[in-house]
Amino acid sequence: MDREQKMLLKEIMEYSFALVETALYLDTHPFDQKALSLHNDYSRKYHELVSIYQAKYGPLTNDRMSGCPWAYINGPWPWEIEFDMH
């Protein structure tokens, strides 16, 4: 996986993680306005990044439309990616 793709994927992982944190917080604090606002900002950014990534590098889920051949199966699969430490 080239450096540019890895960097974009890492940014997606960061926003995805932020969303997990806000989602868990909101599960027990459903009326918290600040958390809701934060969550919605992250969600917007996350979906933008995912759109960019998928357009350039292929689908992250198997429910996207595809050209031929079916791109979802393409590697690297997540456990095969060599990440660098930050």
Binding site: L9, K10, I12, M13, S16, F17, V20, E21, A23, L24, Y25, D27, T28, H29, P30, P59, L60, T61, N62, D63, Y72, W77, P78, W79, I81, E82, F83, D84, M85, H86
Partner: protein
């Protein structure tokens, strides 16, 4: 239902080849206080939880635990994938290898296979949430012991992430317990 996204939750980097370490890390893949136990435990308890907040929380944390199970499997695999046979022989991983090759398999560090006996679901929300809080502390402690015996900086980094998740999950289950207690108190006084 579940959707899979082709990415790990955390960017795992493993620097070394170390079958012995892999056999220890596998404790969190198939052990009593590991990620598979956590995921199955929380997802199993959902059906008898009394409030929407807690049904959501068990769903979301249970799902996250399966993503952690994937991270642990990845660490184990990365630690052994390049190991020549000579580096496997005479290590605790050799017994795993003769049964499963280099493929991660859900047993604990001693080879005890994963079993539903590792989890509890009483159908009682108070009991279940205490079970979950205990589980998060046990997982957190296990990660600390694993950090102590690890010498690969990438592995330690991933273990620290997973340990911190247990701290956060404990907080959330603690909040869920408060929510359930208050809900059940309300019901006593129509």
């Amino acid at each position: 239902m579940w959707i899979y996204e082709k990415k790990l939750q955390y960017p795992v980097k493993v620097y070394t080849t170390n079958p012995t370490l892999a056999q220890m890390i596998i404790e969190q893949f198939g052990g009593a206080d590991g990620e598979l136990s956590a995921g199955i435990r929380y997802l199993t308890q959902r059906w008898t939880m009394p409030t929407n907040q807690v049904k959501a929380l068990l769903t979301d944390i249970g799902t996250e635990e399966l993503a952690h199970w994937e991270i642990i499997g990845t660490i184990v695999w990365k630690l052994v994938k390049d190991a020549p046979i000579d580096q496997i022989k005479g290590t605790p991983f050799e017994a795993h290898y003769v049964n499963h090759g280099k493929s991660p398999y859900p047993h604990d560090a001693s080879g005890v296979p994963w079993t539903a006996a590792f989890i509890n679901s009483k159908g009682d929300p108070i009991a279940d949430l205490h079970e979950n809080m205990a589980a998060e502390q046990k997982a957190r402690a296990t990660y600390e012991w694993l950090i102590n015996i690890s010498d690969d900086p990438g592995v330690i980094d991933a273990l620290r992430f997973l340990r911190e998740r247990e701290v956060v999950h404990f907080q959330r289950f603690g909040e869920a317990l408060r929510i359930v207690q208050e809900e059940m108190d309300k019901k006593k006084y129509y």
